[in-house]
């Protein structure tokens, strides 16, 4: 099916899907999770072929790892769907009801976005995850996964779709683009009127390409150049724990710290210990002039380091003379994703929260908490780095829009 036909089917289905009950959608999700388990042999067979082809092409081990499914990973996908089925329904509730002087009762009601387009790379678990979040939130979806995972994605999608249709989800609500030509993806990005929002999930290149080409509204996710700033009043043991966690607990993700800023008055006291701790975790340290002598084994940072998302066990370090200098550095080189201060000073903490213009700003906690699960949203479709519609971790509520339902008694203007 062409991408246009997929989107037309999705749009036709979305009207019906939007008015299904939460029970219908939740029961369908449980049935879909069961169907995924039942289809495990088929899915693993398809996946084995994707993996074989990827190995023949000479893909890197990390790529093969992300692509590969096994029984446990399929179970993980199914469990994810069951968990989504248990979350509160984001649809139909009202943000507000107000009555105007003329008696009109205006209700601001949460409704699905309609049709969500998701363009993603070679992780087949995203297929199940995205479908679960869309169905839960009453949205139809058009998925375009990486060509490297097409057979796996198709097997997952077929199993889910069949169970969905048998359980009251309108046919057409779940669409997977099987034409992995770039032209089809490009056409998808311009289907205004059919697709309500596009969410790219993947690397910087993918996201930028969608941002540049799409005429459909896009939610940008992604890049995080996150900072930890150790203030002069910081509890230095706490600071050491936070930077170690922010850098080392999972360096490949967007909420990991890339730069450590340290107030000059505590640099001598804390940097040697931090260097020791990070060296033990295998972190490469790239230092400005003032921090270098305090961190044995470090190398010189270049100008480029300050704006680099390493996604790796590398940390840049800079000594600053004031809160203002720290904030100014963060505003200049950061990506407004997640930034943390370690401080015991009330006034400094409040100023940092106010003045650092990032999606998530922390006092005395690791940047690694910027995450839908950690925020208690129960699920996450991505972390928005734009300001429109959603900012920070996006849960089910971010997959909804509003409509005004207005009750009158003949009012005219």
């Amino acid at each position: 099916m062409s991408v246009r036909d997929l989107a037309l089917s999705a749009k036709a289905a979305s009207g019906k899907l939007a008015i299904t009950s939460a029970k219908t959608r939740n029961d369908a999700l449980v049935a879909m999770a069961d169907a995924l388990i039942t289809a495990t042999p088929k899915i693993l067979q398809a996946n084995a072929q994707d993996v074989r082809l990827a190995k023949e092409r000479g893909e890197k081990d990390s790529f093969i790892d992300r692509l590969t499914l096994d029984q446990k990973r399929v179970e993980g996908m199914a469990n994810g769907m069951r968990k989504v089925s248990l979350l509160p329904d984001p649809i139909g509730k009202s943000d507000a009801v107000f009555v105007r002087p003329n008696g009109l009762r205006i209700e601001k009601r949460r409704v699905p976005l309609g049709v969500i387009g998701i363009i993603y790379e070679a992780r087949p678990n995203v297929t199940a995850d995205a479908i679960a979040l869309c169905i839960k939130s009453g949205n139809a979806c058009v998925l375009r996964g990486g060509s490297e995972a097409l057979l796996s994605n198709a097997a997952v999608c077929d199993a889910l779709n069949e169970a969905a249709i048998q359980n009251g989800i309108p046919d057409g609500a779940i669409g997977l683009l099987r034409d992995t030509d770039r032209a089809a993806a490009n056409e998808m990005m311009k289907l205004n009127g059919l697709i309500d929002v596009l969410i790219p999930r993947g690397g910087h290149g993918l996201i930028q390409s969608v941002m540049q080409q799409a005429t459909v509204p896009v939610i940008e996710t992604g890049v995080g150049v996150c900072h930890v700033y150790i203030d002069e009043s910081a509890d230095l043991a706490m600071a050491t724990g936070i930077i170690e966690n922010a850098k080392c607990s999972r360096p490949s993700v967007c909420n990991a710290a890339e730069t450590l800023l340290v107030h000059a008055s505590v640099a001598t006291k804390c940097l040697p210990e931090i260097a020791k701790r990070l060296a033990a975790r295998g972190v490469e340290l790239r230092c400005d002039e003032r921090s270098k002598s305090l961190m044995p084994g470090s190398i010189d940072a270049t100008q480029e380091d300050w704006s680099t998302e390493y996604n790796d066990l590398i940390l840049s370090i800079k000594v600053v003379d004031s809160l203002e200098e720290a904030i100014s550095h963060i505003e200049t080189y950061g990506t407004h994703h997640s930034d943390a201060i370690v401080t015991e000073c009330y006034r400094t903490a409040e100023r940092f929260l106010n003045e650092v213009n990032s999606a998530a700003v922390y006092v005395n906690a690791s940047t690694r908490f910027t995450d839908g699960e950690e925020f208690g949203f129960g699920a996450e479709i991505g972390i928005s780095t734009q300001k429109l519609h959603a900012r920070g971790p996006m849960g089910l509520d971010e997959l909804t829009t509003v409509k005004y339902a207005i009750r009158g008694e003949g009012q005219i203007r």
Copy 2:
């Protein structure tokens, strides 16, 4: 100044503007309103020149009317600014504060979007209006008005900017693009990282052009093909009043009705009277086959009529056999802006509110109420016809985004 330099200045100013107090912003707005009054002679002089040039080019009377300022209109602009200064502050309040099991206190706090770009056509009052709403909501702005109003816009902007800077608004927060070349506007639409959101205000052509070309996130405003549906259970006197009001009270605006749908069982009873009432208001009636014989003086509707926004004293009329047919017509030909049903039946009313997928859905009221003032928002930056970020009338709250301010005690993950 080039559009890039204007945007750079706006971005630099936006960080400072975002942390000004509500009092600073409100006092500045009052001073700016006073400055507008003081500058009236200069503004009228500049405007007279715009008007003279427009007349020399042979512009239409309606265009000249929208372009022309007089003392009363300048006073109207100043009063609008004073009114905005009195509205509740949309900045700094929290949508929610929640505590996670690990003790993290997560606050979802309203903050300005940052830099708002507004591209609009030849109505100089939009300049003052847009500046007021942006300053009130803590946003810097880059304005690009129509070339036909450049002298007027510049005079308005200069007066406001001077007073703003004298009253604590950072220099650069208010930018007017004086290069009215299309190339500069095109560049503006691609200033990702400098401009956070673009709002086009004007006709369909302008909005579509911005939607197609912009890589900066856009809020689409505009086209309304709005319907009134008279159900079989309707109070017909109420229905007649509503369609008359929805069509005639201001036919040029997007929330005016363009199509009347009537249930077959009441068509004979109500259409002749409606025809009489609308004829007296000078409305041209374009009817489907079944309604035509009931509406003296009407002409045949063509297929095109069902999807046309007349913005004029023209109404298309169609007889339908059921609620389903009415909803299906609205979903097929409408623009999901504002649609109304007139009914006395509870179940029909609730189904219409649920199933019609428009920004504003009315029971027993005129579509003309879709408006920021009428909704009680106090001000309106436009009516969003997209689903992302804002839908329906946009007030000050829609000019904000969120950030998560998170307070911890050393939490790591």
